[in-house]
């Protein structure tokens, strides 16, 4: 089952990844075009990195609004905008009901998963069966069979929890961006001041100068949209808290001040999506979470080991081609096979010399010149040919790369430099402590 979920992951992320990573060198050549290929590189090159998170709730749900085939037939429905139609169709035409459907984080992924699973057995295997005395249109008919797909089945529960966690991670990604972004710029809701900096600063201004508390910015997400919503309501002269309509701006402001309605009504569920605590667990709103005790601190609460992110490690790029590996060992194996036995392993060079060697080779390859004999070529393929034919896939003469300019990394985020072995322990290091 986990395999199916993993396959679903791959399917889901297809939609999210709109930008595919083109070959590394192609990208760097475009960004380094301004250097005119001169020897004096003023700006270090860098390997591209990817990132993406939804900007507002519309984008968050848009991701899900893809046409998906029905669970049991070939009809297609858009999972967000045509959800009601889809559920009605399921009920009337297939007698199938999805339990707690509004708590499913991503209906698209859910339906895709179960469609695949339903192929392997009858409905009874997965759904609970109910007997009712009416047909879907309401006519009386004894003992009609209906199916309900709900989280009573452990597989279903696991799927729902997995989808919830995925969505929570997407939300947290967006919140991370909102926390760190310094380029936020909006007009204040109440005064004429322009709010700039981070969103936290904007919220602080609202609280300090206008007594408008939205809560700590760390608990909020999609803050831009939230402020816009509030702005719209105020423009329509509607009180935020009690929804009263006013005909004059002054009347509204007096009302909000006197009745202390300058805050979000906790009962307004359409505001729930802006508070992260509501994404925490399936079906639990902030009210229930607040009542929960925090519980005694266990050893896992203070451990650092559960923060794992295998994708965060930038891959190592081969010195001579576009091949990427996760570890230096794998990269060395690759270059031993593809590049005529070249390896960075066991070179018996000090750490500093290894660093210089890598930077030197990177520089030469970028300029389409041979690291060993310094012969220049007009394109990469001719360089490759030369390296192979003249057997120049070797470590060049030390004097060639033992220059001070090769202390500085040729590529800014060159992960190879961080994985070089540092064997010599007591080597002379020309450092003077403060």
């Amino acid at each position: 089952m986990l395999g199916a979920l993993a396959a679903l992951d791959a399917g889901v992320s297809d939609v999210e990844e709109t930008e595919t990573e083109s070959t590394i060198f192609a990208d760097t050549s475009t960004c380094a075009m301004d250097l005119e290929g001169s020897m004096g590189m003023l700006v270090p090159l860098s390997f591209p990195q990817k990132q993406k998170a939804p900007k507002n709730t519309k984008e968050l749900f848009e991701d899900d609004d893809v046409a998906v085939e029905c669970l049991l037939c070939k009809l297609e429905f858009k999972m967000e905008s045509e959800q009601k139609m889809f559920l009605k169709h399921l009920f009337t035409d297939h007698r199938l009901v999805i339990g707690d459907v509004n708590q499913v984080a991503s209906l698209k992924s859910y339906v895709k998963f179960w469609k695949a699973r339903f192929q392997s057995g009858p409905l009874e295997e997965f759904c609970s069966v109910m007997k009712m005395d009416t047909t879907p249109d309401g006519k009386y008919s004894k003992d009609e069979v209906y199916f309900m797909l709900s989280d009573i089945l452990p597989e279903d529960k696991q799927l729902r929890e997995g989808l919830q966690r995925k969505r929570l991670n997407v939300i947290l990604e967006r919140q991370k961006f909102e926390r760190e972004d310094m380029t936020y710029s909006q007009d204040c809701l109440f005064c004429r001041k322009k709010l700039e900096g981070t969103r936290a600063d904007a919220l602080e201004h609202l609280a300090e100068y206008h007594n408008f508390n939205l809560g700590r910015s760390d608990n909020l997400v999609f803050i831009d949209e939230l402020l816009e919503q509030i702005h719209l309501r105020l423009q329509n002269l509607r009180c935020l808290f009690c929804n009263n309509q006013f005909y004059e701006k002054r009347a509204l402001s007096e009302h909000m001040r006197k009745k202390q309605h300058k805050c979000i009504n906790p009962e307004h569920t359409e505001m729930d999506k802006y508070f992260i605590v509501n994404y925490l667990e399936i079906g639990k709103s902030w009210k229930e979470v607040e009542e929960e005790q925090d519980g005694p601190l266990g050893p896992e609460d203070e451990s650092w080991s559960d923060w794992c992110d295998d994708e965060a490690e930038s891959p190592l790029v081969c010195l001579f081609c576009d091949h990427q590996s996760k570890h230096l060992h794998a990269l060395n194996c690759h270059s031993q096979v593809q590049h005529n036995g070249f390896t960075l392993d066991n070179l018996n060079l000090s750490f500093y010399l290894q660093v210089k060697l890598v930077n030197y080779i990177r520089r030469q390859v970028y300029l389409n010149a041979c690291p060993v004999c310094n012969e220049s070529f007009d394109c990469k393929s001719s360089l490759d040919e030369h390296l192979l034919s003249s057997q120049h896939y070797t470590v060049p003469d030390v004097s060639l790369f033992d220059q001070p300019q090769f202390f500085f990394p040729t590529y800014e985020n060159d992960a190879v430099l961080s994985q070089l072995e540092d064997a010599n322990d007591g080597v002379e290091v020309p450092v003077v402590p403060e």
Binding site: L168, C188, H210, W307, C308, F408, S418, Q419, V432
Partner: protein, 270 residues
């Protein structure tokens, strides 16, 4: 809190919409203001440790004196007192974690925070809570308590300010081993993003790193880097071999002061 301040200064006109009302504390939402950087009204700090009392009364001149005698710091206000204004915190990661309780699975937010002044001090903290803001606040306090001094050195010539680590230092956490290697001025920090952030916050400008082990466990990676940075003062370089006269510890020096001002806290029994 600002609400009381607002009530006091109601005279001034502050722009169009709704003046400074006597804002109550709405239930549920709006729990306190956004995370202010030192703008929150400071409640009077009542120290509960001896060291805290000495610090508040100005008997200790700098944080370095505390480090010199390796006195344990149990109150984060002590750190705030000396370098609070220069400290910048950075949230490394917020992640949901699951905890098994009697009532079933509980999901909580776990915040990993690093704190530093980019000039010789760095700390790391981790905290779990059901709300993101609470987790971050708790983690910041723990990070402040774990602040260590960072020793830096010069590559080659003693010109300008020290910019790199004084020697090769290694730190280990879990399976991750991080080695910090001195670098010449202008190299920058050559490492993965996570240690790079920490080294920046510590005030190290140039450094090479060599990492081994499962560096995918970013938590251990960060902790190992922090351990390595902390070891810069632990390593005895030749210039420290000179014998220094023994200084008296603050507890000893101010023992009379502490005894004089020691108030016995009553247990409440009449």
């Amino acid at each position: 809190m600002a609400d009381n301040a607002a009530a006091g200064a109601r005279g001034g006109f502050r722009g169009g919409f709704g003046g400074r009302g006597r804002g109550g504390r709405p239930r549920g939402r709006g729990r306190g203001r956004g995370r202010g950087r030192g703008k929150e009204a400071e409640k009077e700090w009542v120290p509960v440790t001896k060291l805290g009392r000495l610090v508040r009364d100005g008997k200790i001149r700098s944080l370095e004196e505390i480090y010199l005698f390796s006195l344990p710091i149990k109150e984060y206000e002590i750190i705030d007192f000396f370098i609070g204004s220069q400290l910048k915190d950075e949230v490394l990661k917020i992640m949901p974690v699951q905890k098994q309780t009697r009532a079933g699975q509980r999901t909580r937010f776990k915040a990993f925070v690093a704190i530093g002044d980019s000039n010789g001090h760095i700390g790391l903290g981790v905290k779990c809570s059901k709300e993101v803001a609470t987790a971050i606040r708790g983690a910041i306090i723990l990070a402040k308590l774990s602040v260590v001094p960072v020793r830096r050195g010069y590559w080659g010539n003693k010109i300008g300010k020290p910019h790199t680590v004084p020697c090769k230092v290694t730190g280990k956490c879990g399976s991750v081993l991080v080695r910090l290697i001195p670098a010449p001025r202008g190299t920058g920090i050559v490492s993965a993003p996570v240690p790079k952030k920490l080294l920046n916050m510590a005030g190290i400008e140039d450094c090479y790193t060599s990492a081994r082990g499962s560096t995918g466990t970013l938590g251990n990676f960060a902790k190992a880097t922090y351990t390595a940075i902390g070891k810069t003062y632990a390593y005895l370089t030749p210039d420290l071999w000179k014998e220094m006269p023994l200084a008296t510890a603050p507890y000893h020096e101010y023992a009379d002061y502490l005894a004089k001002n020691h108030r016995v806290v009553g247990t409440g029994l009449q």
